[in-house]
Symmetry: C2
């Protein structure tokens, strides 16, 4: 293993995977190293470019903290997240489609009773959200756990406010015996993903806009069903066809209906896919 | 750009590069995104595996500070650094070969007069290093800047000691009018690369050893010549054929000669490649 050149080094690295106990890890690393080396050769990566890439990844890691996940954001804007979601969530027709998880989920969202106001002081026009959690045959799923998170009218999630000590626009509730759920919140708006880090630099360098169409995040868990991670998007949003993270499915687009007495309502039903 | 699937998402991401002003960046990102998506499809990456990868990269970034560069180490153990060095340093026969930069170079190494002791208190057996900086025709190159850095007898670089306030085994000196240089230091030993971070986890998960054969780092700069980043390796080292970062070239292996009066000597001449 001396005098390796730009061709022979690849096999030398792969050969060292021979002793990897976990066959799945060995398989993944074999593909990763092969593609990584092919990429470097394909573009004839310079030493300065490798340094720039290392600096970019370092800054991306250092931008992360308990409220900010810049590597998820990077995966999202490179389409890797949506690709992975699409590969792993093939479902029977009729099931609610999945989309990206995003970087703004945090552990510890507060629990609410059905019907509660999860806005909890978030800025925005009031909105009543209602729906049912069902199976593929239309039967209600009782006791499903619905976790919701969303940006406020300024386009910020609660975790983006450095001094906010409570959760806003974020909560966990459960479907009722008839599968229904209901909560009050504020109207979701389109927002730019955070552009003050390396991912923002990347978007600017590629002249891409940072906007996501208005949406509510849902993660729905129920026994004997696959966990559903998805959004409901707002019909009419100007960014539905240019979502910065490639997440829009037509079946996830719904109407926010303005009410004569003020505020909005949104009705959306979720259909879960059974396990196995 | 709605309803993208695991195949169509790739072209959608590539299409957004259309407005990238820098053609080289566009070219690199096109290849990177293509390989990244192909990798994810080839291995059918799961959502849990993507999360694990994001967590690994996040930890790698967060392990970096002004004295530790875990992403360089990652690039090194994946062979990407050596591949890039090999691609970018094709030289006429007779020039000193290049090898990896490594993660232990820092700015601000102290300057020394020719003949000085750069160990500056580093632990180890004394060693006198001598040589000449020359061109391809054997003519001396005067005034070349030689930066040297190395581990001590315990296998640690100065920057790995958290409370060390001075530099040890690290310094900058200049070749004399006849191209010669000379300095005192300690004998280099084989050492394991730092294994207390994500790169160490990766090596353990793949049952790879972390050892590098004993070496001195050199970076040599001279006007009208390409900067040379290289090592001199110690002949007889048990890791010359299994360097954890794939950096050994036979032409860079030299004898550390034990002296009857104690200590060692190393003689090594460097041949620089002219610019252009």
């Amino acid at each position: 293993m001396r005098n390796l050149d730009e061709q022979t080094v690849t096999q030398a690295v792969l050969d060292l995977l021979a002793g990897t106990p976990d066959p799945r890890l060995k398989f993944i690393l074999t593909s990763l190293i092969t593609h990584l080396h092919d990429f470097a050769r394909d573009v004839k990566l310079t030493e300065a470019e490798l340094r720039a890439g290392i600096s970019f990844l370092t800054q991306t890691g250092q931008k992360c903290d308990d409220k900010r996940q810049e590597f998820i954001l990077l995966s999202d804007v490179l389409g890797l997240s949506m690709l992975t979601v699409a590969m792993n969530n093939r479902k029977p027709r009729g099931c609610t489609e999945s989309t990206v998880f995003g970087p703004f989920h945090v552990e510890g969202a507060p629990e609410y009773a059905n019907g509660a106001d999860i806005a909890n002081g978030a800025i925005g026009e009031p909105c009543l959200v209602r729906g049912t959690v069902k199976d593929l045959h239309g039967a209600p799923i009782a006791g499903a756990e619905l976790e919701v998170w969303q940006a406020d009218a300024t386009g910020n999630y609660d975790v983006q406010y450095p001094n906010l000590e409570t959760h806003q626009g974020r909560g966990v509730l459960r479907s009722q015996a008839d599968g229904s759920f209901e909560f009050r919140t504020v109207v979701a708006v389109a927002y730019p993903i955070p552009a003050d880090g390396p991912v923002g630099d990347l978007l600017r360098a590629t002249a891409r806009h940072p906007w996501r169409p208005a949406h509510l995040h849902f993660m729905i868990k129920a026994k004997n069903y696959q966990t559903l991670v998805t959004h409901v998007f707002r019909n009419g949003d100007q960014y539905l066809d240019s979502d910065a993270v490639f997440g829009v499915r037509q079946t996830l687009v719904a109407d926010w209906v303005k009410q004569p007495e003020g505020g909005y309502t949104l009705n959306y039903d979720f259909v879960l896919n059974p396990v196995g």
